[in-house]
Amino acid sequence: MFPKIITFCCNWCAYPGADFAGISHFKYPVNARIIRVMCSGRVDPGLVLEAFISGADGVMVMGCHPGECHYEHGNYEAERRIKLLRYLFDKYELGGKRLRVEWIAASEGRKFAEVTADFVETVRKIGAFQEKAREILEVMKDTFYGERLRLALGAASRALDSGADGEKYEETLKKIAEEEMKKYRVLQTLRKEGELCVRVVAEKLGLSLRETFDCFLDLKHEGLIEEGDIGEDRYMIYGFVRGER
């Protein structure tokens, strides 16, 4: 079956909305599997990425309409996360439209059915993931399970409430996410291919030497890689530290 869709539904609006679609006998494609959570704010961005890694072609997060969240603001957090994920999906050419946030009220059975049908079509048009996508998704998962990005993401509403500039914050979130993505891509490459130097990794990943080296320094600082010998091209070879993760 293609495309495979995972739909996270909150318990208060979206899940009853899906039920209401059933009660009203509004038809929609069989492609979506609904996972019930209490609030759309429960949907960890890492889990969204795990959904893709587990084979989903599209993920939707459905919550209550803005201002109507049963838990007051969980849906806004969900939106912030998915927005960032979409940005990264587009940036890494995975198709940002594979991700969607929708607000479904308990009475909006028709909307549920229509949105589901539309999303299935959208994802169908994007097509299946390319071969290399899985690796990027794994890296993105590490990024979204990493403390650094989670801190910036989780503290967003606290920062904005205390007067931080929303646009600047969003830009910083993107910047942090991209930095972490680079770092974990480098780590993944070393983990997969054994000992490598900056030049080879930079070439493999299409990064500049400097940004690659910055990642090496960070990873070394975090104790995830260690320095080895110097290669014939005079580049220092680094290796993944076993036993981690």
Binding site: L151, A155, A159, T172, R199, S208, R234, M236
Partner: protein, 651 residues
């Protein structure tokens, strides 16, 4: 009026171009001149004795010496005539050396000019008045601006003498440039190893009040009595609570380029600049901070305070040492040197790279590569004709040191130094230079005006090519690493600090000492002294020495308890003053104020200007601007200057 005139030969310095005897004879003919003599060296003991004897014998009232610049020997002769019982201000000098013999070629005409200068001095001398010497109380504390090695040395020396020192540093930590260095030349001592104990001493000294992350906001007053206001910038971390544990930085999600590593490494938005920082207190960089407030929550001491405001500290000091250090030229201003390419760095960046506390933990690697071909280029922005003409002084030697370090860390490296003149001027420097050459470092000479270009090597991301005309002709050097010895320049905020202390700057932009040879520590403002690279580029021992020297000046002033003030100050003729306030607004020292005469509301009530003698530096701006010609500067009165003019024209 009885005037004595003494014309000096200054060996051959004056005598060779001025007919000194002729001038003396001429002087004797001038009105009021009782005696006129010439002598080989007037400043010598016999010369001075001659003047003293004449004063007594001829009952001289004024003395004129025609010799060198008054900036050289005016104080000498003032003391001489004082010893003979005359007031120091009954003295006038005619500068027939710097302004005459040394600058002319026709002896006859030079002699004529010398006569005119002597006439001017004599005419003025007849108008001179004895002046009182003013004395002020001295607050026994000192302010030191800048806690680099020079400022720290000055602070320690002054504090050791028992005086309280306020040491103000604008960065979050003390230590200055020296804390960034790896090894020091020529001994190859580890910079941090010799510096950090001093930093600790500074922090621990009971007489030193360390005020970091702070800038001097204003300085008022005068020698012995400066009123200082310091603005302490908010760290957003309570220094009294922060234990320096670093958990805030550990969790801070925001990375920013570390300015301390000159962009080679990163720090968090909550940071200490380097691991041995003093004080070991974290600072939040609010420009990069996204206010996630994680630091606030993870801090076990509740030290984070986002509401912290800047704080103002006010205190009085008797003396001030300016030790604000230097900046380095942004090499992008010299695009031919290729700065901005990944493997082109500055000398100071090299220090960070080589330093164990630097981004690569002391490994000389550029983007993961161990360089093989390394080229050092000296004089980047220094010694430029028609521009920055001075030599930055320490680059030749740090080039040599860094060339040595490359060889030490990378034994198979090819190291070339493109230099112009090797300046190995200090103790052990020449030896070190020779040692480095013996170690295999290739020194290639090039002229500063000759073309040079550093560019990326085609097709290789990690190599550059240096194309330069050298002593061997047009050459190309391929390199994995190019290190630029960029010029040391005056701090970007020199002008701001200059205004605070009312001192002067040299043509190069650094602070100007009172005399380049004889008074290298003092400034044009009494009670304000210079130390370290704020005055001009210098190496560590020189900075330390100057720090100590400044300290000794300060201590001698503070221990006197009283200081001599300026006698050549403005006086207001209240009968002529119309109270317009022009002088109040033009005075650069705030030495003019309004004073009330008569009772308020009555017909005789008026405001007049009044000089605050302790603040007045005698520049005379007020007098020149005064619409009612109500102000005269003592010793430079209108009548005295006009008499001088009359004297010149009389010849």
């Amino acid at each position: 009026m009885r005037i004595g005139v003494y014309v000096c030969h200054c060996g051959l310095n004056i005598e060779a171009m001025v007919d000194v005897e002729e001038v003396a004879k001429f002087a004797a003919t001038l009105p009021d001149v009782t005696v006129a003599r010439d002598y080989k060296y007037m400043c010598s003991d016999p010369g001075q004795e001659m003047i003293k004897k004449d004063i007594q014998e001829f009952e001289l009232e004024r003395v004129v010496v025609a010799s060198c610049s008054p900036r050289m020997h005016e104080p000498t002769f003032q003391v001489t005539i004082q010893e003979a019982g005359l007031n120091a201000y009954c003295f006038e000098m005619a500068n027939i050396r710097e302004h005459c013999s040394w600058v002319h070629t026709d002896k006859e005409r030079a002699t004529e000019k010398a006569e005119a200068l002597v006439a001017a001095a004599v005419f003025k001398a007849s108008q001179l008045e004895p002046l009182e010497t003013i004395e002020v109380d001295v607050t026994p504390t000192a302010l030191i601006i800048g806690a680099g090695i020079a400022g720290m040395q000055a602070a320690l020396d002054i504090a050791d003498e028992g005086f309280k020192v306020y040491l103000v540093e604008k960065e979050p930590s003390i230590g200055g440039h020296m804390s960034q260095l790896d090894k020091t030349f020529p001994t190859l001592d580890c910079s941090a190893c010799i510096l950090t104990p001093k930093m600790v001493d500074v922090a621990r000294h009971e007489n030193i009040e360390l005020i970091t992350y702070a800038e001097v906001e204003s300085i008022g007053g005068y020698i012995g009595n400066f009123k200082v206001k310091v603005r302490k910038k908010p760290r957003y971390i309570d220094e009294t609570k922060c234990t320096g544990c670093g958990i805030c930085a550990q969790h801070c999600p925001v990375k920013a380029l570390n300015e301390y590593d000159l962009g080679l490494g990163y720090r968090k938005a909550t940071y200490v600049p380097f691991p041995q920082a003093i004080p070991m207190k974290y600072t939040i960089d609010r420009d990069n901070c996204i206010q996630c407030r994680t630091c606030e929550h993870v801090c076990g001491m509740e030290a984070v305070d986002f509401e912290q405001k800047e704080e103002f500290l006010e205190f009085d000091v008797g003396a001030i040492v300016v030790a604000t250090g230097y900046d380095l030229l942004d090499p992008l201003e010299k695009p031919e040197f290729g700065y901005g390419l990944e493997n082109v760095i500055t000398g100071l960046q090299f220090e960070r790279l080589s330093n164990a506390s630097g981004p690569t933990a002391g490994k000389l690697i550029i983007n993961g590569k161990v360089p093989k071909d390394v080229v050092f280029i000296s004089c980047v922005g220094s010694r430029e004709k028609g521009g920055r003409e001075y030599c930055s002084r320490f680059c030749c030697m740090y080039n040599a040191k860094q060339a040595h370090l490359v060889g030490e860390k990378i034994p198979d490296a090819n190291v070339t130094v493109l230099y112009t003149d090797m300046r190995a001027y200090g103790e052990g420097f020449e030896e070190f230079y020779n040692r480095v050459r013996e170690e295999g470092v290739k020194y290639v000479r090039r002229e500063l005006d000759d073309p040079i270009e550093v560019k990326k090597k085609d097709g290789e991301e990690d190599r550059v090519v240096v194309v330069a005309k050298t002593e061997n002709g047009l050459e190309e050097y391929e390199a994995d690493l190019v290190v630029l010895a960029n010029a040391a320049i005056a701090r970007s905020d020199t002008e701001k600090v200059r205004r605070l202390v009312s001192a002067s700057r040299s043509r190069d932009g650094f602070f100007l000492e009172l005399h380049p040879k004889l008074r290298p520590i003092e400034t044009t403002v009494d009670g304000i002294f210079l130390a370290g690279c704020a005055q001009a580029p210098k190496d560590i021992p020189d900075s330390v020495a100057q720090g100590s020297a400044a300290a000794s000046y300060v201590c001698s002033l503070l221990s006197q308890k009283r200081a001599k003030g300026e006698s050549c100050i403005s006086v207001v003729n209240e009968d002529l003053c119309i109270g317009c306030g022009t002088c109040v607004s033009v005075c650069p020292y705030g030495a003019m104020e309004f004073s009330e005469r008569g009772s308020y509301g009555s017909s005789n009530f008026r405001k007049v200007a009044q000089n605050i003698s302790a603040l007045c530096k005698g520049c005379g701006t007020c007098g020149s601007e005064c619409p009612g010609r109500a102000i005269d500067v003592k010793h430079f009165k209108d009548d005295q200057i006009l008499a001088q003019v009359e004297g010149i024209l009389s010849v």
